[in-house]
């Protein structure tokens, strides 16, 4: 056993470049397979429409044009920029609501003593197991009776009532890791539970708040089903609903415009990943949680 263990690093050190080169080739090949659909979509968005399905699997367009971008952006009765703005507003409001409400609920579960705390916590965790679709119809009926259909309210307002058990659980785990003596010190300093929450807990929980915020933004941005159910007026459409408008059931679909706008819709998510990757990992690592 120990001989084998010693032999392995020895083998590697004989051909370090060969080994590393092979490994890199393998990883690059795997990455290419993963990225291929996106690259093909990017290539498709830059091809002339008639060339789209003729080129087979080739990634290199015979002719490069950005016509699909301008047609996609301005081609509908409402500009695609409007959908972007809608999506941005909904995602921002929903993220704000999720972070605020989930952190308040998590603070209560992690730090405050109230009647039936354990029971409520178990119930809250239980909702993690409920698929979204199970509550869809009762929710729809509720929002219909409130007169909220064909508005953004069903997409935004619930987030301010801590409906996402995953975020609450993530934050409870994080809050439990903050030493209780800090709360007690603040209590001795005259802080109310509310002041402890926003002066002590929130500033110390930035990694987990960022994680929840980023996930919340991405999931809301990517959400297709919610807007599809609740929004019918085109001026209220999100990006995901706008993309669907390019595919016409009658058969005259504008594929390369769809591809062009799909590429654009990925940019915000891509940028968020690029800039907040470290916070995202820190937040997940420090709570010992994975989804």
């Amino acid at each position: 056993m120990s001989n084998e263990a010693r032999a392995l690093p020895g083998q590697g050190s004989n051909h370090p470049y060969l080994r590393s080169g092979l490994l890199h080739c393998l990883l690059i090949a795997a990455s290419f397979v993963m990225l291929y659909p996106i690259l093909w979509m990017l290539a498709g968005s830059l091809r002339p429409a008639e060339d789209l399905f003729g080129g087979g699997a080739s990634l290199v367009p015979s002719q490069v044009t950005i016509k699909a971008y301008s047609q996609g952006w301005f081609g509908m009765q409402v500009s695609f920029g409007h959908f972007f703005l809608n999506s941005l507003l909904i995602a921002t409001l929903a993220t704000l609501g999720n972070v605020l409400a989930a952190s308040l609920a998590a603070y209560a579960f992690a730090r405050l003593n109230f009647f039936g705390r354990k029971l409520w916590f178990a119930l809250m965790l239980g909702t993690l197991m409920l698929p979204y679709h199970v509550t869809l119809i009762p929710q729809y009926v509720l929002f219909l009776k409130l007169g909220w259909i064909n508005t953004w309210l069903p997409l935004v307002v619930p987030k301010y009532f801590a409906v996402d058990a995953f975020f609450i659980f993530l934050m409870v785990q994080f809050f439990r890791g903050i030493p209780r003596q800090l709360d007690e010190a603040a209590q001795m300093d005259g802080c109310s539970p509310w002041r402890i929450y926003y002066k002590i807990m929130l500033p110390l929980s930035l990694p987990v708040l960022a994680t929840a915020g980023i996930f919340s933004f991405i999931w809301t941005w990517e959400d297709f089903f919610g807007p599809l159910i609740y929004v019918s007026d085109m001026s209220l459409y999100t990006v995901q609903l706008g993309l669907r408008s390019f595919i016409d059931s009658s058969g005259t679909s504008s594929w390369n415009e769809l591809f062009a706008m799909s590429i654009l819709s990925l940019i915000p998510i891509f940028l968020i990943f690029l800039f907040f990757q470290r916070l995202l990992i820190e937040g997940i690592a420090t709570t010992g949680m994975k989804r």
Partner: protein, 359 residues
């Protein structure tokens, strides 16, 4: 300003578990009181009940003559220094010191004046813009103390304030806390499991065991006249030697192989032949000489030279172990047999109920 604290039949229960069992205690204004006892004796819980961080299950807590059971921690006029210091990691030292005053709505100029004054007193002015993680243990400790002083409370509570410091710093901070007490004159309560800290800092020591008060008194009272075997063993370092003995006459006991004349007031309380425990501190045993009376001869197992004193670990003919602490540097070797002598005035005896046989 100094304030008195009274505890009357104070009980703390965590569900079925009773951790504080009816404690009665009077803490005089301006005194430095130390709660001492082994781990799990309830000393920290008792302190937290005074602070208002634990509810009081039964009994009454009076601070400055007012019942405080249901008064919020911040309104008791108390500041507390935590074992881990509990400095807010996201705030600078300045903010840490100012936080309590900001919460109380004190004006900005006044906050600044008080923070700078306290920082100067504790020699932390140059660290005011640093975060706690950029400070050493001793500096953090001073910030934690500063945070309590700046609010100008009536009472200071310290929860094992020195346990996270290294030996040298511990002695230094011990002196600083004692000086602080002298200067401020406030009522202070400190919790520790270290009897040396208790002896050196306290005006009054409260020895706790299993949620009950074993004895309350000045350090020397506890050292000279321990109320029971537990206190006798807990106070003093090295620990008191205990030998099984029996009473042979109203003023005499016999440890195996050696009769001793003791003038203990209550020895007569025990009937003849009653088993008692004989106690003598290591520093009260003399090696050889003519003074006092003989404790027989012992065989030396181990000698530790501390420079100023010498510790000798020895075994009696009966097999009982003894520790002896002799002043100066002795040339005793392992395996030697040495005669021991004791002064009856320094001896202790404990009855079968472990209570001391002396008034």
């Amino acid at each position: 300003m100094s304030t008195s604290i009274q505890l009357r039949k104070v009980v703390k229960r965590f569900e079925a578990l009773e951790v504080i069992k009816g404690v009665d205690l009077d803490i005089e204004p301006g005194k430095f009181t130390v709660f001492v006892g082994p781990s799990g004796c309830g000393k920290s819980t008792l302190l937290r009940m005074v602070a208002g961080l634990e509810t009081i299950t039964e009994g009454d807590l009076h601070i400055g003559g007012q019942r405080m059971n249901d008064v919020a921690a911040a309104r008791r006029g108390i500041a507390m220094v935590f074992q881990s210091y509990a400095l807010y990691p996201h705030m600078t030292v300045y903010k840490n010191l100012a936080f309590g005053l900001e919460t109380a709505g004190v004006k900005r100029d006044e906050i600044d004046r008080r923070v700078r004054e306290v920082a100067a007193t504790l020699r932390i002015t140059e660290y005011l813009q640093r975060r706690p993680k950029a400070l050493s243990g001793g500096q953090r400790q001073r910030v934690a103390i500063g945070r309590s002083i700046v609010r100008d409370p009536d009472i200071f509570l310290f929860d094992e304030p020195l346990s996270n410091l290294d030996a040298e710093l511990r002695v230094q901070m011990r002196v600083e806390i004692s000086k602080l007490h002298e200067r401020l004159g406030n009522t202070m309560i400190c919790v520790t499991h270290d009897q040396v800290e208790a002896m050196t800092m306290a005006d009054t020591i409260v020895v706790l065991r299993g949620g009950e008060v074993m004895q309350v008194g000045s350090p020397l009272e506890l050292y000279n006249r321990p109320a029971n075997r537990f206190v006798a063993g807990f106070i003093g370092s090295p620990k008191m030697n205990f030998l099984e003995a029996r009473r042979t006459a109203p003023d005499a006991i016999e440890v195996p192989g050696q009769a001793l004349q003791l003038s203990l007031d209550q020895l007569g309380r025990c009937s003849a032949e009653t088993p008692v425990t004989f106690g003598i501190r290591p520093e009260h045993i003399m090696l050889g000489g003519e003074a006092g009376q003989s404790l027989g001869e012992v065989k030396v197992d181990l000698v530790e030279h501390l420079g100023g004193s010498t510790s000798v670990y020895a075994t009696m003919p009966s097999g009982a172990s003894l520790t002896i602490l002799a002043p100066g540097q002795l040339s005793i070797r392992h395996g030697e047999t040495v005669p021991l002598r004791i002064d009856a005035a320094n001896c202790h005896a404990f009855g079968p109920d472990d209570q001391t046989l002396r008034n």
